[in-house]
Subunit: 263 residues, 3 copies
């Protein structure tokens, strides 16, 4: 199976599918998300981490959020215990590769890919000309080292926490979803508050009161709540509203959680 | 075949697909629509009814428009002559189940599903943790009663008409599509007007003149028309414009049709 | 393989898929794009031309951007060296059929299709009732002439150039993508400028300075650049911005390219 995560127009995604099917007409291709904000590496990285959490380990995840296409930035194949990843080495694989243990990365030489496909490589669309063919070939059993040399260090963006030190629980806002929910990287075990407890969440320097709830419907419409989201981590939400609009939270913000009665 | 109708972000839809494929890697999954307005049960219900009209009876239609997820609202499997349906018991199945004759409904016990998947059930995403697995198992031949007890009454939202009484033909606005067309539940047989006849449509208490037309191109640009839409029922449209914006019509509005010469 | 390019809501696209699968449950269906602006024949035509460039010749490409549905406009099957095309004869096939050499076109008689499907043909949705079934039957080996008579002339929209005469290189703006990039029909060979050269692009009567670049990242953020896009033709772009918003360029605009040092 090959999954696709991009910030591209549908017509460009279709061209990637065409490039994969040209190599393997039987390939099974699944769209993860193409609605990332343009150039938003953090959002794409979160989408990839959700995909890695549910698809089998032998899946090849392709990501094309690639403002540096055609420049000096490298293309990369990463093999890990959570799946294989193909795309630009610009940090997009940061989140799925957190806590995966050992990984193996290889740079992709575009000439090696062109030699295999018999097609030229444009300088504006490596998604179609490089990453899609590499994914198709990996999926067919090709070895990652046939595309280039081992790569020591991958680009990664910074992720704060999660941690609970000195009585403060903090982490990072990883994703704002279409409902305006704010997903963090703070697991349930790191912050204990029984349902109904009054808490606060601090985001971008501002502190908001919120109710620890079990599900969205537990809150009054318009009330900020703190619950455990579908990835097993805390999420800030607004019943029938958008927590993102209310709080101004964006991906990358530092998040702090506290009990109101334990300041 | 399994179809998906949700108001979810693509990344969450992908997780539902992952949950289905984990149970049956050969499952055929088809997206119906994920562009419903958030929490809009009427729109999702219409989408499901169009799917039920064209896919075979053994199809499993999953719907996740589910603001009450994790609360007391029930999950349900419904078997009918128009297909099988899986989702929250919050009214989303109202339209596909109109005039289907006898149906059989079973509540879904989340524990029964968890026992089958070996995974926990979150309180925020039953689409992935409950409904997708149930659909995959039904599609593989599992019986609906293995997930829970029979359910007597399903939640349904109110649908007015269609009827033609006392010289007035009335019904309900079921769907505003992306062109701004207003689809009603009034079948062609219930309101007779030859093409070219001057009619009126009353929506939300306001009455608008319109032309009975055969196709969109029959009207002058900017003219409201009344025609038989693709579901066999009357539709109010504006050639090269949006009837919804012109009239203010929204899903659930009562609709009345009349001949101008027969007031 | 059958591809779909439309300006339709997802629920209507799903109905087309249902109509195809009713004829051939094994059909392989691929979405090209459904995000065209409504009624925008030029945008759909460009999407079709990108699809024709990468999918095999025996692919059946269905296009439903069809404001004239149900009127006198014809439905058509076109066979060419770049694939087969099914849809309304309103110009949508202009771009994929440029420079394909000989083509064969047949009008589609809706009665012939209805006879094959056993279903009625609505006057508002030939995508589902006519074009989808025809595509499914063609894909199964049916001959185009079984649906209607040969058609001499196809509708086409005007495309200027590309040409380089009298020292001026000109063409047409074919597509504004989601990044605001402006794709033209001017191939690299028709306008020679080494990377780093200062050029001008004239669009809609206005002239803008731009840098000949090799890739998006070559330019300063906010700088207009001219590069060879993924279709092998020149594209006007704005690094980390939208060239469309900056220039006002829209599909169909005449484009002129010049060297600043060679006025």
């Amino acid at each position: 199976m090959i999954t696709l995560t991009t910030d591209l127009d549908q017509i460009y995604v279709s061209q990637m599918k065409g490039a994969i099917l040209a190599i393997n007409p039987e390939a099974m291709i699944l769209d993860i998300a193409h609605d990332s904000r343009r150039f938003d590496i953090r959002r794409a990285s979160f989408a990839l981490s959700t995909a890695a959490s549910i698809f089998p380990r032998n899946t090849v995840h392709v990501c094309v959020v690639d403002p540096g296409v055609g420049s000096e930035r490298k293309g990369v194949v990463v093999e890990s215990g959570r799946g294989r990843f193909v795309g630009p080495d610009n940090g997009v694989f940061t989140l799925p590769l957190l806590s995966t243990g050992e990984i193996r990365a290889h740079a992709i030489q575009t000439e090696a890919v062109a030699a295999r496909t018999g097609r030229g490589v444009s300088r504006t669309f490596h998604g179609r000309d490089v990453f899609a063919p590499v994914a198709a070939l990996l999926d067919l059993g090709e070895s990652a080292d046939s595309f280039g040399d081992p790569l020591e260090d991958l680009e990664r963006f910074e992720v704060h926490g999660p941690n609970a030190e000195g009585g403060r629980t903090s982490g990072t806002l990883l994703y704002v979803d279409g409902f305006g929910n704010l997903a963090t990287n703070i697991p349930e075990a790191l912050f204990r508050a029984e349902e109904g407890a009054r808490c606060t969440v601090t985001l971008g320097g501002k502190t908001f009161p919120c109710l620890r709830a079990g599900c969205y419907a537990d809150a009054e419409p318009g009330e900020l709540i703190l619950l455990v989201g579908s990835q097993g981590t805390y999420e800030v939400s607004l019943n029938r509203g958008e927590a993102a609009a209310r709080t101004g939270g964006v991906e990358g913000d530092k998040v702090e959680l506290a009990r109101e009665d334990q300041p």
